[in-house]
């Protein structure tokens, strides 16, 4: 019996070792692929950085009115953001190629799912970037207009709008990434519905008189200011 146990153990050890030995070339190929892609990414980053610096990419982005992109990037340099994005993409491609060395069927399935998921990731990133730009623009606009209209709560309004847009953009991005889509949808339904209901209640029921008094006061104040205004700006 001990002989049989010993034989079984020996066979399993040989099997495991032979499998490990079979995986070693693939693992080495993976490491090599990652290393080579890292070197290529490093070289590409150097070339790209110099190229972008030569064409004044950061300044051009400002001129095109995309200054907000800079605020999303490391050290507020869009060139660095582009360079890093390209580098990591090359390393990702190298890693995917390295995986192919393990098992052709597995890797092709993995690569297929990775590549079919990639557009969703890119769309989500784009959504968050655009959402961020729009949120900042709207927040700034509302803050400036609010102050010019003499609204004491201009900052509060501006921050509120900024976060609303940002949260909306992130929720849309999550929807594209297929992460908790039903929860996000539900949360939004509740949030926006709640806000609208709260406003409706405030104006319609609970604070009707308070709101109307406030609106009348503001209207009177503006009318008085206009009527008594001795200054002619034009």
């Amino acid at each position: 019996m001990w002989d049989q146990v010993g034989q079984t153990l020996h066979e399993s050890t040989v099997r495991v070792l032979s499998r490990i030995a079979g995986l070693l070339p693939g693992a080495l190929a993976l490491v090599l692929a990652v290393l080579v892609s890292a070197v290529i990414a490093w070289l590409a980053a150097i070339v790209l950085r110099r190229l972008l610096a030569r064409i004044d990419f950061d300044e051009r982005l400002d001129q095109w009115g995309l200054k907000s992109v800079a605020e999303w990037s490391p050290r507020e340099s869009p060139s660095l953001l582009v360079t890093r994005a390209v580098s990591w993409s090359i390393i990702l491609v190298g890693f995917t190629l390295g995986l192919a060395a393990f098992d052709a069927a597995l890797s092709s399935r993995l690569a297929f799912s990775l590549f079919t998921y990639l557009p969703n990731v890119l769309t989500a990133i784009l959504l968050v970037i655009v959402g961020g730009i729009v949120a900042r623009y709207l927040a700034r606009n509302i803050l400036i207009e609010g102050v010019n209209m003499h609204l004491q709560y201009a900052r509060f309004l501006s921050i509120g709008v900024k976060w609303m847009v940002m949260v909306l953009a992130v929720a849309m991005a999550l929807e594209h990434l297929r992460i908790g889509s039903s929860i996000v949808r539900l949360a939004f339904g509740i949030l926006f519905g709640g806000i609208v209901l709260a406003l409706a209640l405030a104006v319609g029921l609970g604070s009707k008189e308070l709101v109307s008094r406030s609106l009348e006061r503001e209207s009177d104040r503006t009318a008085t200011a206009n009527a008594e205004e001795p200054f002619r700006h034009i």
């Binding site: 009115g65 606009n141 400036i144 102050v147 004491q152 206009n226 008594e228 001795p230 200054f231 002619r232």
Partner: protein, 400 residues
């Protein structure tokens, strides 16, 4: 555009007057047209006017040398003042050039305030003395034309070196030469009113100003002040960028010849209430410091924060601070740290702070004292020009 057939029918003319009314009341416009037609010009004249069915027969009946040229494009839109004025002036210049006139006057003030002597005052310096641009001088009380007093006049005077009291008109006389300059192919992107003075000065043309007396204007609209500022300052700052090579080497300012009689208008006798202006400035200082921080250097920001803590009695904005603020906004308009529209609107609370400070200073001042106060501001703008030149050339240099 004016009808080409009507222009052909009129043929050639010596002078033209364009009307760009702020009013849409046809009776008021017709009355103003009739008033102008009552004068008898010594040469062939064309009145380019909005099509409000004036009594055209009057021109024929009196046997005068007037011809009428209706143009539906001539109007002021209060919501888009700069654009509508630009389109109207361009249309008038085009028609006047087609008619081959020697000079053209454009009247854009409220029509009831336009008197019969405006036309000769705006046209004769061009036809008889060879001036290319006749800018207006209005009789105004101390609280009128504040954007002009605070920004436009001192800025244009400091940068381009000519003491033109109302660089943005709007009532002007223009020679055919200057009209051709303004409408030539490469200049079509310029604002035909705002860029008029800068183009005339940088082109070495002859400039004078005419005292037209009091000027009417529509009632102010508080809620649109920031839009109004943006509409005025946008084209002005574009010109600062366009003519940068000129003003970086411009000489000290010089007076220009004047026509007509200088007049004063008494201001309100009662004390002015600047509480709301100061409150808006303080609200801006409290909420907009991040946005102002992208435009202004730290020393100016600190100064504005200090001002925001002052009470009404001691509230005074130093001229040096104000001039630098305007210069920094002009530079930021070129560099675009934020969108240009937001940038131009973000100056409103600081402008209101300046208005409050100015109002408190000249509250009970005589017209001469107000003039001296304005002259002091202009000299500060001129002395601070080196600051703008330095920042314009090296915007990235550390500036405390």
């Amino acid at each position: 555009m004016a009808d080409a057939a009507t222009i052909d029918q009129i043929g050639k003319a010596d002078i033209a007057i364009g009307l760009v009314p702020s009013s849409h009341d046809s009776a008021e416009v017709s009355a103003a047209i009739d008033r102008i037609l009552e004068s008898s010009p010594p040469v062939n004249a064309v009145l380019i006017h909005p099509p409000y069915a004036p009594d055209g027969a009057k021109a024929q009946r009196t046997g005068s040398r007037w011809s009428l040229l209706p143009d539906p494009q001539l109007a002021q839109d209060r919501a888009a003042l700069a654009q509508s004025l630009g389109a109207s002036y361009r249309a008038i210049f085009d028609s006047a050039l087609k008619l081959g006139v020697r000079a053209c006057a454009v009247v854009a003030s409220d029509l009831p305030s336009v008197t019969a002597d405006w036309a000769p005052l705006l046209l004769e310096p061009a036809t008889e003395n060879g001036f290319d641009l006749i800018a207006p001088c209005y009789a105004r009380h101390r609280f009128e034309g504040l954007i002009n007093r605070a920004i436009v006049y001192p800025l244009v005077r400091a940068l381009y070196g000519k003491q033109i009291r109302n660089p943005l008109g709007p009532d002007v006389g223009v020679s055919a030469g200057l009209m051709r300059r303004m409408t030539s192919g490469s200049k079509t992107r310029m604002h035909p009113l705002v860029s008029l003075v800068a183009e005339a000065i940088t082109g070495g043309m002859k400039i004078c100003q005419a005292h037209l007396g009091a000027r009417g204007y529509p009632p102010p609209d508080w809620s649109n002040l920031s839009s109004l500022l943006a509409q005025v300052l946008g084209p002005l700052f574009l010109d600062v960028e366009r003519y940068a090579p000129y003003w970086q080497r411009a000489p000290e300012s010089q007076a220009v010849p004047e026509f007509g009689r200088h007049q004063h208008v008494e201001g309100p006798e009662t004390a002015v209430d600047v509480t709301r202006l100061i409150e808006t400035f303080q609200l801006g200082a409290h909420n907009l410091h991040e946005i102002w921080g992208m435009i202004l250097p730290p020393s100016t920001l600190v100064e504005l924060q200090r001002l925001a803590r002052l009470d009404r009695a001691g509230f005074r904005m130093p001229d040096e601070t104000w001039a630098r603020v305007v210069y920094d906004f002009a530079l930021a308009h070129r560099l675009r740290p934020i969108s240009r529209d937001q940038l131009l609107k973000a100056i409103t609370p600081i402008y209101l702070g300046w208005v409050a400070s100015y109002a408190l200073e000249v509250e009970s001042a005589s017209p001469d004292a107000v003039e001296q106060r304005l002259e002091k501001l202009c000299l500060t703008y001129e002395s601070a020009r080196s600051y703008l030149v330095s920042r314009w050339r090296w915007p990235d240099r550390f500036n405390p």
